[in-house]
Symmetry: C2
């Protein structure tokens, strides 16, 4: 029987794989930076992605979210692409969908309704959308590399909404890495150990 105990763990890509027992939609989820520019999302897929976000939970069922959805080739997509940073402009436009994720924020000196949990809840809605994408055989990458003010002006987004993040959703390029092929030491596949997530429960 081979003895693996002396293997260098840093040379073993499996070190950064999620627990086998995790649900496949969570275990195999990852954020590609290379999308198949020949793939088009169907209208039904786009509808389901929004439906997934729609049914996410939120504080007091406030649903403090909205989305600007661009499909590659349409006018909204072109207007979103204009506001990408140079870094994201290299890869994000090739995904079938480009979505701006908006949170309903509070503004001082107004009486707009808002939720203290608008960003938290938007994060949940985008997570649900991402997991539905995964279920459709698609992949998603969220990013912040865009001109927030420019994009808000482009779509006349008022002060009490924030364009918090963007997501590119599409089919991962066949040549792109994956959780199982990612090279050891790929920083996006590293995670703090579970024990590090547990708050120490000692009495102060």
């Amino acid at each position: 029987m081979p003895d693996h105990s002396t293997e260098n763990p840093a040379a073993n890509p499996a070190q950064d794989l999620a627990d086998d027992r995790l649900h496949p939609l969570l275990r195999t989820r990852w954020s590609p930076m290379s999308f198949d520019a020949g793939h088009r999302n169907t209208y039904a897929e786009t509808e389901l992605l929004l439906e997934a976000a729609r049914w996410a939970p939120s504080a007091g069922n406030s649903q403090p979210w909205a989305f600007i959805v661009g499909c590659r080739g349409d006018d909204t997509h072109q207007r979103l692409v204009k506001h990408l940073a140079r870094s994201s402009a290299r890869w994000a436009p090739s995904a079938g969908l480009l979505i701006a994720n908006l949170a309903h924020r509070y503004v001082e000196d107004t009486d707009w309704e808002y939720s203290e949990f608008s960003q938290y809840d938007l994060g949940q809605a985008v997570a649900h959308m991402t997991i539905q994408a995964q279920a459709l055989g698609l992949a998603a990458r969220q990013f912040r590399a865009f001109d927030r003010d420019g994009l808000a002006a482009e779509f006349a987004v008022p002060e009490h909404w924030e364009v918090t993040t963007m997501t590119a959703i599409g089919r991962a390029a066949p040549t792109s890495a994956s959780p199982t092929t990612a090279a050891a030491g790929d920083p996006s596949r590293e995670r703090r150990p579970v024990l590090d997530l547990l708050w120490p429960a000692e009495t102060p």
Copy 2:
């Protein structure tokens, strides 16, 4: 053939059901307010819930989250229960797990590392945990009805972390409602229509 066109839609619980094509983990997810006090989570289940959160995406892979996990009957659980509001104290302690969800926040005049997206990312991590709970046949309800300062003091949580929300996770009580049995007009099962989530894409 019966003609349903004159049915009062408000009398039809199906109006607030999610699209059939949505992935079952998302479609059947809901937030019970009544848990089976006889059910205990296994250690392996608790481990998987944390593993689900651990593999959530985050801005720059910052992983700005931590969790205080109480299992019904243990010391941490008792200390968490002490800080519940009267409303949540009626139902949350009967769930197998009570978890405080912490976000790594910025504090002015310090040089703590932080993420602008700490709440957003915590929301995603809790969403992933919730979906893993669903995959284990469990259910989760997130809530804010607790004494945030009291809980932070109890567990010596410093200023640069925020106890953002709590989650009760366990087996839903057999008598509790569900997405399919919820009475028409249950406000927690209502959602804004999809068209309402789409930001109008007209040029200003």
